[in-house]
Amino acid sequence: MTSQYLSQLITADKLSAEPWPEDATLYQPYEAEQILLPENASCLAVKAYLKMCNLPFLIRSCANAEHMSPGGRMTKLPFIRAGAFIFAEFEPIVNFVEQKELAIGSWQDEDEKADMRTYVSLVENIFTMAELYISFKNERVYKEVTAPRNGVVFPWPLNHMQNYGKRRNALRLLKVYQWDDLDIDSVIDKVAKCCETLEYKLKESPETPFFYGDQPCELDAIAFGHLFSILTTTLPNMALAQTVQKFQHLVEFCRFVDEKYFQTRCLPN
């Protein structure tokens, strides 16, 4: 116990000592051909967060990004390689950035930070499960979108085996979070409640664009990642997108973040 704690302290010191590497690289599946909705949301959240922190990073797309990842709770993606360190998924990457004292949200007080963490956890769980549900549980979406995209990088019959394994893992995850026996209406209801909570939070400070005032924080990144992915992904079943579109403040929020962090840099190029 003591040695483990000491080891963590040493690691923390090591992490904070090194500056952010210029060649930090984010690994993700191929965006146009391969990536799935839950993975796209997670990758977009991480990208938004790093842009909000003004940290430079490269993006590398590869077919085996998921298998290269050291693992995580949800999608295992994206993972970031920063110097000798590799972290996967939104929360570990955020923790890593915070260790270097480069994080947005350092201006928040403890109460506000704890409050934000609650929202982040809510957003991550509800939206990721909903995305997994619509991608793997809905038969039509699975056949027309999920299976062809996931299998595109593997030759036959490896593609079918990979699809089978991935779907089984996704269904197992849904079962763990007790989403496997919900019907689509219950899922939509959960998503609607989550959106309602977020919109209420956004309306608390109507004159500022972000959830906690003038500056962005973790919650802005992850909410943008999930909401924007749901809104911009075309599926045979658009129930999730239609649900999110009902909340105008959230749609405006996504448009604002997209223009501020993703569009302005692209236009001059």
């Binding site: 085996n64 390689r81 593997f154 030759p155 490896l158 085996m161 990979q162």
Partner: protein, 443 residues
């Protein structure tokens, strides 16, 4: 007893010249066939009918007995030679009867198996002679120090009963699951697939053994540690490999483990890329030359070379197909893979390698005293030279030493060597001192 031998035999020589006794085989019987089809044993009698004297008859009977054993259907075979009787019996006519005891319907075995620098526990369940012509199905499972939980289901069929029996053709089809662990590089490969194998001998001048295999397998590279160099992590994930493998062996040594004379040559060539998303060609060659000297001393020269290349620009050489140079089977005085390229202080395989060995083998001192035991042991002095990713003499690795070798089951051997590395690079993992090795193909 031939009647001609009885007359005056007591008064003349005490030995009979069997080649002078004429004989003729009238009939050959093979009994004990229950599940076996008759045509599978028909060719057994070919040689017997050509015998014209009793000595030839005896020799042919013995070789036919061996042949019946090789067919893989009998537990044991006995031979009876009797005078031919009946209306159609000819003078000096004989009947030869082979009594076979067919194998049971199911056989099991458990034991240990020797691999290349590994020992493993193996269990096997075999159903022999399943279709009546020597076919068998076997289910084999093994657990070893470096492999984990291998499983293979194999169907094997010989064609020893055809007119090509001299070439000993055989075919097999197997489904396998195999895990190769590369602990020094912190990854393992799980292969699941099937293999079709055809092998035969050719006797055009020299006796060669050929094997042609088609393998289709899913290779999944997984990591064994959290902290692994990124160059290795890059290879993670499943890939589909579809490959042809051709190997040829020439072996005229007088022994497998401790030959005193003869040459052994082996070449294995792989072409991967018939479909799937792995593409490379790989060639490995191994040679061994044994020269007897005086007083039981034998000089031995060994060499091995391997090259692997990618064949399509879009693919990457699979890490599990690279060569690991170093270790008791290749370069003594180095740890396994310890004489190869290194990335972030972790050994990674090489795209090409060569290594050579020169040995002086000697029987143990006092070999005459414990004759039977001593024949399983040999002493040797050795000098190994090798390199990887380069065929020049720059940056070579080398080591010398001496050791004791033990023969194991007429196939493999154990070596305990004292090694002194001579030339090595900074990143190499040398082993100065005692080194243990087990396997069946050493350099």
């Amino acid at each position: 007893m031939p009647k001609s031998g009885r007359d005056g035999g007591a008064s003349k020589d005490s030995k009979y010249d069997l080649s002078k006794i004429s004989a003729r085989v009238d009939r050959v019987n093979v009994s004990g066939l229950l599940r076996t089809h008759n045509d599978y044993v028909m060719r057994a009698a070919d040689g017997l009918f050509k015998a014209s004297n009793f000595q030839d008859l005896m020799l042919e009977a013995m070789s036919t007995k061996s042949y019946l054993h090789e067919l893989g259907i009998f537990k044991d075979v006995s031979v009876h030679i009797d005078v031919s009787r009946g209306a159609d019996a000819s003078p000096q006519g004989y009947e030869v009867t082979f009594k076979g005891n067919e194998m049971s319907r199911m056989m099991g075995s458990a034991g240990t198996e020797i691999g290349q620098n590994e020992g493993s526990l193996r269990t096997e369940l075999t159903i022999p002679n399943i279709l009546g012509r020597g076919e068998n199905i076997s289910l084999q499972g093994s657990y070893s120090s470096t492999r984990a939980n291998d499983l293979q289901l194999k169907f094997w069929k010989p064609f020893f009963h055809t007119r090509f029996k001299e070439n000993r053709p055989e075919m097999s089809f197997s489904i396998f699951r195999q895990t190769d662990r590369f602990d020094i590089s912190s990854f393992q490969t799980t292969n699941i697939g099937y293999l079709v194998d055809f092998s035969a001998h050719t006797m055009v001048g020299v006796d060669l053994t050929h094997s042609l295999q088609y393998e289709n397998a899913i290779r999944d590279v997984g990591l064994l540690n959290k902290s692994v160099p990124f160059a290795i992590r890059d290879h993670c994930g499943p890939k589909l490999a579809s490959l042809l493998r051709y190997s040829v062996v020439y072996d005229n040594r007088d022994g497998n483990v401790f030959p005193t004379r003869g040459i052994y040559l082996k070449s294995v060539n792989e072409y991967c890329g018939l479909g799937g998303n792995v593409a490379y060609t790989s060639s490995t060659a191994h040679g061994e030359l044994n020269v007897p000297l005086f007083a039981g001393l034998v000089a031995q020269f060994c060499a091995r070379v391997g090259v692997v290349k990618e064949t399509k620009n879009t693919t990457q050489l699979p890490i599990s197909s690279l060569f690991y140079c170093g270790g008791p089977l290749t370069l003594r005085g180095f740890k396994f893979g310890g004489a190869g390229p290194v990335v972030e202080s972790t050994p990674i395989g090489a795209q090409s390698f060569w290594c050579t060995g020169a040995h002086l083998w000697a029987p143990l001192p006092f070999a005459g005293v414990f004759k039977n035991l001593a024949s399983h042991f040999r002493m040797h002095f050795f000098y190994n030279i090798g390199n990887n990713n380069s065929f020049s003499t720059e940056n070579m690795r080398s080591a010398f030493g001496m050791g004791l070798a033990v023969k194991l089951a007429e196939r493999a051997r154990i070596e305990l060597n004292y090694c002194v590395p001579v030339r090595h690079q900074d990143t190499d993992r040398i082993l100065n001192g005692f080194q243990f090795g087990i396997g069946y193909e050493f350099v």
